[in-house]
Amino acid sequence: MSPVLRLLVQRISLGLLLLFFVSVLIFAGTIVLPGDVAQSILGQSATPEALANLRRDMGLNDPPVQRYFAWLGGVVQGDLGTSLTSGQDIASAMGSRLGNTLFLAFWAAMISVPLAIFLGLLAVRYRDRWPDKLISGVTLASISVPEFLVAYVVMFFLGVQFRLLNPTAVGFRPDADVFTKLESIALPVLVLTLVILAHMMRMTRAAILNVMQSAYIETAELKGLTMFKIIWRHAFPNSIAPVVNVVMLNLAYLVVGVVVIEVVFVYPGMGQYLVDHVSKRDVPVVQACGLVFAAVYIGLNLVADIVSILTNPRLRHPK
């Protein structure tokens, strides 16, 4: 077995093990939280009879360990179960939400990743001169402000004052055409881009600058290559590994960390779906969302690892 393949198998099985631990942790977490799903559904209007009826119907009287393994048994057979609160099939309900989240993440990534890398290259090219300082200043400022505040500010100016774009994503409907969809997610994409730009840009800049100290860059300079060509052809390929790492980290954030943005812009993604069910203690849905989020996170990190190995001959052919 080639070392790369062995590594892949190793990483994937580790990932699966991690997923298992994550599911145990989430389950334990929802058990520890005060109140249960029956109480949350009925809220202030809970009567003892209604509570008892609901608990019995939902099987909440079984011991937690038994409930966990019943759930796990379903999952390994591909059955995520049904929601305790709405009775909907989790896989189909979550599927459309996940699709929406990926749609938003895709467009945010399409804009922010190339932009961050380009700005990073630009910052290196004009290191310590005004373009570098401007790019660093603006992106650092936008990452330092809390994302909901950025969201409110752009919503107020672009949405309400100047009416350039829709302030909320309520126009986002599954049956809408792609242009309507893009129009309704314009502001969320803008905010997400502002939030993740700095991290990726700074990492690109630092990684390339690190490589720029090497002897072969000096050689390239002595050959008389232009500065940008040196960066693009010689420095960038050698700094791909750290850049891919940080890009993957941010992509994962775009999928699992955008709860606040989704709530503020009323976007029907996974984050909102998860939050609603956590507050109702709907354990099967929380478990399923947790698994998907964990899988996305682990999967993207796996990709980052593999890419760094493939781009680095020393890791590709270990002694």
Binding site: S40, N53, M155, P167, V266, D276
Partner: protein, 527 residues
């Protein structure tokens, strides 16, 4: 010129020329924009309802976990969903009295133990089937079944038998109840084919709209029910959007993405009202914010401690600072002028001397622990801090413990001896007192146990003579006010807002926010 303007007004109101055209042409003959706007609004209102168009609502409270089963409805969006497709037997009239809905008329036996509801003739469910007395019986049965999870279960406990008699439904009660028609107006009790026993969440009823698409916690789209019997429902389509974030909801209204919203934050209501094309609508209701003490737990078991705290609260300050003026002062009873049979009583004021006097008399010297959380009512932690300060003025030490929102209703409310909370109110005094002040009530969150009060409540419920009933409720109010564990500093107004794209708002409608949640059906799309 007057003729010309009149002609323009009518044209605009009928939708023959656009709003923009009207403003332009009016300006051309020298009318200011503000005056033209008023003129148009009047003309549109005078022209009467217009049919058609899409009305879009931005509401707070919906969640992905909601269900279309009316028994499980707990929030404002679920209520609006039921209003779209369904109707109860009865409904509140604008002045808070009770009127028939699916029931055309109703009457009680002399002892108020047997009620007969005559079903409206010729109305059909949206699946085409006509409404029978059996459907109504099945609906009441489903919600009063002990196995049901209905939010209306508590209301229906006294019903011993429900039967169909031709086109009438006969309801027999365990004990007399003059308010039964009010109870059956509860929104959970929307009449469904065979009571919804076959398909509780099918959303088939007799309401003005038919649900076309429902994605819980995101949006509900409904189109006009062509066979609806009443004169409501002017828009061809209604879109209910769940917008839980306050800022986003207001922004959606300001940019015209929605036509009406509920729960305008009191803090910014004035600013929003000043925005062009937007009107904030306030209506007073039975909802109130409370500080509740357990009458059976020390130190609150001592009535002097309770009185000291009642005198130690500054009610006007709370209305001004917590509600920003959008509300009225409470008087330590859960009842205000929005209830039928209300009797005004002397207003209790902030009085540090009396508070100190009662505290001294009680002999209690420690501090008082008050639990609060953000979700117990908007601004509750701030209100607790104000209470702490006003009590300090009387030499009473109040300690505030901030509890997490999560689990507040299960761990703190109705469990800890002193905390902040809210009540949405009920349509009648009987229901409010039965829900939370009767000694045996499940939600007796003040652990109030007063025999005289309980007897009066039962007597008033059975009394069909209005004057006698009113006196009984006045006496009960005095008992709660002077002996109860309730500190009620304020009644909160409902704050809704509409754009001038829709017309037909009526002020002062009793019940829930947004004209008892009928605004989308009674209003129409004007521009």
């Amino acid at each position: 010129m007057k003729d010309y303007l009149d002609y323009l007004k009518v044209s605009a109101a009928m939708g023959r020329i656009s709003r923009r055209d009207f403003m332009g042409r009016a300006a051309a003959v020298g009318v200011t924009a503000a005056a033209a706007n008023t003129m148009l609004a009047e003309a549109v209102h005078a022209a009467g309802p217009q049919k058609g168009g899409i009305m879009r609502l931005g509401l707070q409270g919906g969640s992905t976990t909601d269900s279309l089963d009316p028994a499980l409805a707990t929030n404002q969006v679920a209520l609006m969903a039921i209003r779209l497709w369904g109707e109860s037997l009865t409904e509140l009239a604008d002045d808070g009295s009770i009127a028939g809905k699916v029931a055309e008329s109703f009457s009680a036996s002399a002892d108020a133990k047997t009620w007969t509801f005559k079903i409206r003739e010729g109305i059909t469910f949206s699946n085409g089937k006509s409404v029978t007395a059996e459907d109504v019986v099945a609906t009441i049965e489903r919600h009063s079944d002990e196995d049901a999870k209905s939010g209306a279960l508590g209301l229906l406990r006294d019903i011993t038998n429900v039967s169909a008699d031709g086109d009438s439904v006969v309801v027999e009660l365990n004990s007399a109840n003059a308010d039964l028609p009010y109870m059956l107006a509860d929104y959970h009790l929307a009449i469904q084919p065979n009571g919804g026993k076959d398909a509780p969440d099918a959303a088939i009823g007799t309401g003005p709209y038919i649900i076309k698409e429902a994605e819980m916690g995101v949006r509900i789209i409904a189109e006009k029910n062509p066979d609806f019997w009443g004169d409501m429902g002017h828009a061809a389509e209604i879109e209910v959007l769940v917008i839980n974030d306050n800022t986003a909801r207001v922004a959606a209204l300001q940019s015209g993405q929605v036509d009406m919203i509920d729960r305008v934050p009191p803090r910014t209501a004035d600013l929003i009202n000043r925005a062009p094309g937007i009107t904030v609508r306030t209506s007073s209701g039975p909802g109130h914010y409370v500080f509740i003490m357990h009458c059976d737990t020390e130190p609150f078991a001592n009535n002097d401690v309770r009185m000291a705290l009642k005198y130690g609260i500054n009610r006007q300050e709370m209305v001004d600072k917590i509600l920003h003026g959008y509300g009225s002062v409470g008087n330590d009873t859960p009842i205000n002028a929005s209830y039928p049979l209300y009797t005004e009583m002397e207003q209790r004021e902030y009085d540090p001397d009396k508070a100190a006097f009662h505290m001294k008399k009680s002999g209690y010297e420690g501090s008082i622990l008050l639990r609060t959380s953000d979700n117990s009512f908007p601004g509750a932690p701030d209100a607790a801090a104000l209470f702490q300060q006003s009590c300090a003025g009387a030499g009473i030490t109040v300690e505030i413990k901030r509890e997490p929102n999560d689990g507040y209703w299960s761990e703190v409310w109705n469990a800890q001896p002193f905390c902040t909370s809210y009540w949405g109110g009920r349509p009648t005094q009987d229901q409010m007192y039965t829900t939370a002040y009767l000694s045996t009530a499940d939600w007796n969150d003040t652990r109030f146990n007063n025999e005289t009060f309980d007897q009066l409540l039962m007597a008033a419920r059975a009394e069909l003579d209005t004057a006698k009933r009113k006196q009984m409720y006045a006496d009960m109010g005095m008992i709660v006010r002077d002996e109860g564990g309730l500190i009620c500093p304020m009644f909160n107004d409902f704050l809704d807002a509409t754009t001038d794209r829709v017309a037909g708002w009526v002020d002062g409608v009793a019940g829930q926010p947004l004209m008892n949640a009928y605004a989308p059906f009674r209003m129409w799309v004007a521009a």
